[in-house]
């Protein structure tokens, strides 16, 4: 993610919402970019088409562990109990967002389709590259749960530590 992408999120994405007289609620991508630049655990990326940021993602690559015990029962992964953690690292999607105009409710057809899916695949690519075997975790907003279900991303239920958002996690990707 470049400085130009941050300006686009702040001026164009937010500007479009501001033009509709919606207050800016402090969705600070500048902070996230600085975080990614100063802390090696974080990586910020933008998906750019025609020089416009169509989607953004912030990945955390060191702290998070798989919350799923893949050994619990053959073929039936189960979430660890509270306090336990798998030794398996994963790429955690801290933030993932698509530009305001890329959703059917606003544009039908949307300006671009596939932005979320492309960012999700990119996260799995990073997970492979980091030696985490494609494991990726995220907490979905309620309106996006159907999207992650459609991506066959296993759903491990509401997480009380994350305001009740549902936790999804991809396991190991076979090579």
């Amino acid at each position: 993610m470049t400085q130009a992408h941050v300006v686009q999120v702040k001026t164009i994405w937010q500007g479009i919402l501001a033009a509709a007289e919606q207050p800016d609620e402090g969705w600070d991508w500048d902070y996230k970019r600085r975080l990614a630049a100063s802390d090696p655990r974080f990586e910020a990326y933008a998906l750019e088409i025609d020089k416009l940021a169509q989607g953004v993602v912030l990945l955390e690559t060191q702290w998070h562990r798989s919350q799923v015990d893949e050994q619990f029962s053959a073929g039936q992964a189960m979430r660890f109990s509270t306090g336990e953690a798998s030794p398996s690292r994963l790429v955690y999607i801290d933030y993932l967002a698509s530009a305001p105009w890329n959703r059917k409710r606003i544009e039908d057809p949307p300006y671009f389709v596939g932005v979320g899916r492309a960012l999700l695949i990119f996260a799995r690519k990073r997970s492979m590259a980091l030696g985490y075997s494609g494991r990726v975790g995220l907490h979905s907003l309620p309106g996006a749960e159907a999207f992650y279900h459609r991506q066959n991303m296993p759903d491990y239920g509401a997480d009380p530590d994350k305001e009740g958002l549902v936790y999804f996690e991809y396991g190991t990707l076979q090579q």
Binding site: T2, W27, I93, L96
Partner: protein, 181 residues
């Protein structure tokens, strides 16, 4: 997303992102997103952004599609134009500031500019050959017209400041420390 499909892609090209060039995969993506409204947000911190979108009247957002289309035409030209300046370390800052200014100027266009933009969009909608798109050929000149002398001064200041900061960062010198007295 089917893990078997991803595994096959890895074996085939070694890069999962190559799926974005697969027409079958793209059709499947379009169908999946059509069924899910296009909302893909993840992370507690995106709540405020999604709330903002949800509270914005759809008609107000639809009106902005035109603006996004215009920017998707103007920004690549702006980027290429500034790339020719040889700005080096300060390119990113200057480009970021220039696009911010252009976005502002689109909201305060001079009398002839709305008509030019209408023509520019019409040329794109008709898929005319590039040699039959006179408005397209005027993009660079119009971008330059949009910038006021004060805007140019701002861009020059950003370039100078960012170049200085970049040099000091590379030399590992505290920016607050004077280089020479």
């Amino acid at each position: 997303m089917d893990d078997n499909r991803l595994s096959q892609q890895l074996q085939k090209t070694g890069d999962l992102m190559d799926l974005l060039n697969d027409s079958d995969w793209l059709q499947e993506t379009a169908a999946a997103e059509a069924a899910c409204s296009g909302d893909v947000e993840a992370g507690v911190g995106t709540r405020s952004y999604v709330k903002q979108i949800q509270r914005t009247p759809p008609d107000a957002l639809k009106q902005q599609r035109r603006q996004v289309t215009v920017l998707s035409i103007l920004l690549p030209v702006l980027h290429d134009y500034l790339s020719d300046w040889g700005l080096g370390l300060s390119f990113e800052s200057v480009y970021a500031e220039a696009q911010r200014v252009i976005y502002q100027r689109l909201a305060q266009m001079t009398p002839g500019q709305p008509g030019w933009i209408n023509n520019l969009l019409a040329e794109g909608d008709q898929y005319l050959p590039i040699e039959e798109r006179p408005s397209q050929a005027q993009i660079e000149a119009t971008l330059l017209e949009m910038l006021t002398p004060a805007d140019w001064q701002v861009l020059a200041t950003v370039a100078a400041k960012d170049m200085a900061a970049g040099i000091l960062r590379r030399a590992n010198v505290d920016e607050a420390t004077p280089i020479a007295s």
